[in-house]
Symmetry: C2
Subunit: 209 residues, 2 copies
């Protein structure tokens, strides 16, 4: 009998980021603790070096899945077209964005708040917490729970994340990787509801009895 | 009186790429010479150094234009969110892709033809021709004339480019930049019609009389 037990929860405080290592075949779940919160998710291939280069790539993923947005069963691939994460369960309304860049200091400067926290800075800080650094420009993230509808004329919308407290999406690593989740600090466009809130990363353990 | 005269044409042979320098305020036109040919267009900020890093970014552009595909009047921005190219005229059916990665050796290896030419290699070769090198992973290109429709369920199609011989799209550089156009060598999916064909890059001169 195999019983799944919760072995580890990493809370991602509002407006910040956290990085974890995930081994091939292991799963993790991104949980929206309070609801209406976007998570910017990055993944890098983990080859044991401290400078990360191979990364989950949205444009290569779209060519692979032939879909504009992710769905259960889809593999995300890297810039080297190697599978890195698979969506294995989605206990949320199923809206996840794969079109929009991470927010960054330039974005907030344009919005008039140059010293605002950002997902780009959260990525760097979270990697630094594991003694790692990105060797590439900020990759386009998978924006879990982010609701960017595309109208028939191609126009994009910026709607609040439709998630309720406890909603989650679960991934399986298809290669050893480093995963970063940023609880998006965007509080000027409404995508995170009334205010940014925390997320959690749960890594279920498998207890063989 | 200002008369526009054609001062320079760079032919991009079928399956290959070419790079040009474009000064701020200058225009260039990508012409589909034989029809049904996709062009992978890359642009880098030109600060005089030989290693290029700032680049046209599709994901930052979508956040800026709030559109999934480009249209006349749209500004493409870089990974630093600086405008780099503007679409100023479109004498084509107006289908241009902004979702799909450049083809590369890994893509063709997966298709069973590992030694196939690719837009990624064409980019490197074209930059090399100007004594330049990219300091970043292959950026997602603007795929001019490429017809990737998005169905209501988010599924992507791969249709032949709808262009006729002589169709073109015209850009204006909003900063000094290096532009690379690859005549996509993809001959396995049908996106380039019956076979890959050449493109041209025209740089109109302005003759003040």
């Amino acid at each position: 009998m195999v019983t799944e037990t919760l072995s580890r929860r990493v809370v991602v405080p509002a407006r910040s980021g956290r990085a974890i290592r995930v081994g091939r075949g292991e799963r993790f779940r991104v949980v929206d603790l309070a609801g209406a919160q976007v998570g910017d998710l990055f993944a890098f291939g983990d080859d044991g070096r401290s400078v990360l280069t191979e990364h989950l790539s949205a444009s290569h993923t779209r060519a692979h899945t032939e879909r504009s947005f992710p769905a259960v069963g889809d593999d995300f691939v890297t810039d080297l077209r190697r599978p890195i994460l698979r969506v294995v369960a989605d206990d949320s309304p199923g809206r996840h964005d794969l079109l929009i860049a991470a927010c960054d200091p330039a974005r907030y400067a344009a919005l008039g708040v140059p010293d605002h926290p950002s997902c780009a800075q959260n990525l760097a800080d979270a990697l630094s917490g594991l003694g790692l650094v990105s060797g590439v420009p900020v990759p386009q993230p998978v924006n879990v729970f982010m609701n960017v509808p595309v109208a028939d004329d191609g126009t994009l919308g910026w709607l609040p994340a439709p998630t309720a407290p406890g909603d989650s999406i679960t991934f399986e690593a298809t290669t050893d990787c480093v995963v970063v989740v940023s609880a998006c600090p965007q509080d000027l466009t409404g995508i995170n509801g009334t205010e940014p809130s925390p997320l959690a990363i749960d890594q279920p353990g498998v207890d063989h009895r």
